[in-house]
Symmetry: C2
Subunit: 304 residues, 2 copies
């Protein structure tokens, strides 16, 4: 069975909030595994407005330690504890994560009823998290910052006709795919007996904050979804680039060069009121460009 992969945008702004736009945070559900990508101030309240429960977050991936991308963690972790969480929480981030988060999660008076495990990830590495693989990419930003790629593993397709000919009951096929072989009616069948090709796993890339980088297109190659920061449109490009950010034009070029299926604009400057201008600019370059909006959901289609 293919996984359900759902993206929920909790906050889509950057730097500081506006009345209608919160600090960056994205939910990435891969079946029952709820991953949180960045966690700016106000994220817990946004999650409460969504269909998701903040108690079920398994992993948190922080792109970098500018306040707008992680200060929501402090209250979120306390709320989890208030509500009786006992399962450990894994938080991943770039170099410096352990020092910064150990300090941040000790601010003020409180006791934590569960374990927070902080992991520093290196750039350019791949980490197997069971259900999916996470790859990291070093961003071009004034502080250590990572882009993340979440990659579903490839899956053997089962040829139903082959299975029927061998009289393997359909209820056993999922187990055969998982285990690679089963015994049934005194015989051993392997996955090769029923194989109907390979379904490529899906890929979701979230950049966090970065200047435009040619090798980001390589990193995002063939992704189902690219969420690339777009702080403003190109009219402010020199300033935006100076501060380590990208324009909608620059991000759309990366989406086009990477050959992604869908590109979401994200991380809008609080000074931008007309998001339509960013979207039009991006679509002129890459037609499958879409604005992310607060509490918007997107189900990543299974590859055929």
């Amino acid at each position: 069975m293919a996984s359900n992969i759902r993206i929920t945008f909790f906050g889509t702004g950057g730097s500081w909030p506006t009345p209608g736009r919160g600090m960056p945070s994205i939910g990435l559900q891969i079946d029952e595994v709820f991953n949180l990508l960045d966690c700016g101030e106000g994220t817990q309240k946004q999650i409460m407005k969504s269909k998701l429960s903040f108690m079920r977050i398994r992993n948190v991936f922080i792109t970098h330690f500018h306040g707008d991308h992680f200060l929501g963690l402090l209250g979120l972790v306390q709320s989890m504890s208030f509500n009786g969480r006992e399962e450990p929480l894994d938080i991943y981030g770039p170099a410096g994560a352990i020092g910064i988060l150990s300090n941040a999660l000790n601010v003020g008076y409180y006791t934590l009823g569960f374990q927070v495990r902080i992991h520093e990830l290196r750039a350019g590495e791949a980490y197997d998290l069971g259900k999916f693989v996470v790859r990291t990419h070093r961003n071009d930003h004034p502080v250590p910052a990572l882009a993340y790629s979440f990659e579903e593993k490839d899956m053997v397709r089962i040829d139903r006709e082959k299975a029927e000919k061998l009289r393997i009951p359909s209820r056993l096929l999922e187990r055969l795919r998982e285990q690679g072989s089963i015994e049934y009616g005194g015989k051993v069948y392997t996955i090769e007996d029923v194989k109907g090709g390979i379904r490529k796993g899906r890929k979701v890339v979230y950049t966090g904050d970065t200047r435009p980088m040619a090798d980001m297109a390589e990193f995002a190659r063939d992704a189902d979804v690219l969420i690339h920061e777009t702080t403003t449109d190109s009219s402010l490009e020199p300033k935006v680039n100076e501060y380590g950010h990208s324009s909608s034009r620059q991000a759309a070029e990366i989406a086009r060069d990477a050959g992604v299926r869908r590109f979401f604009l994200f991380h809008y400057s609080p000074r931008v009121s007309d998001l339509g201008a960013l979207e039009s600019e991006a679509r002129g370059i890459f037609p499958e460009s879409y604005l992310s909006r607060e509490l918007m959901e997107y189900d990543v289609p299974v590859r055929r």
Copy 2:
């Protein structure tokens, strides 16, 4: 001229947010002086939804260092800096404030373009802040915690008839009140020459978190406004008191015993969905009980 004193409730919940209720924070404007009382997560966004500008905050008073009461400061201070603030910001809190806030305001990467001055206040003291006096009261809560009383100074009433008889132009009367004496037409007039009695200054008390305390009624004596925490109604009193909080019944008794003019309920548990029950319970004891609501404003009437 009497000051304009306005209260704005930015967040009215406690512990953790709900979709419709944020973490505790209150604006107390005394003419041009914008004081912020507590600053839970999400406060800056709420201020942006109000008529006020977060850039104009002069003083912040933190009751205690449980996360829900102060974690919003971290992002707020960063946003002030992003927006070019240069004026110093004064933050007041109970014992431990300097250590906790110096640490908290250093979390993650950022530079601050203005000075943050942190002041630890002792319980049971009075501090003259020019336009008003702040008094502190030691709360009954598991960590060091203060209640605050903000007291407008008493003001001499000017008897217009006396002033007219002396032929002092009305444009000079405000200066006479401020300076105590003026010279006009070769003569010196003192405030005693035009005095028409004293108008008592107004008093606004905010408790922050506390178990009910008999001496809180003394502290809040004759206040124009008492904002007392009311975590739940009395059905959960033993549990609420155990954790260092008050019920709506207990807070209303204090409002009644203190003889305040108006009592606002505040700091509702996220487990409370029916605020009407808290209000009815309070009104049964003290009729001038009102629920605080997110973004509600209240102008404190001048005393006659």
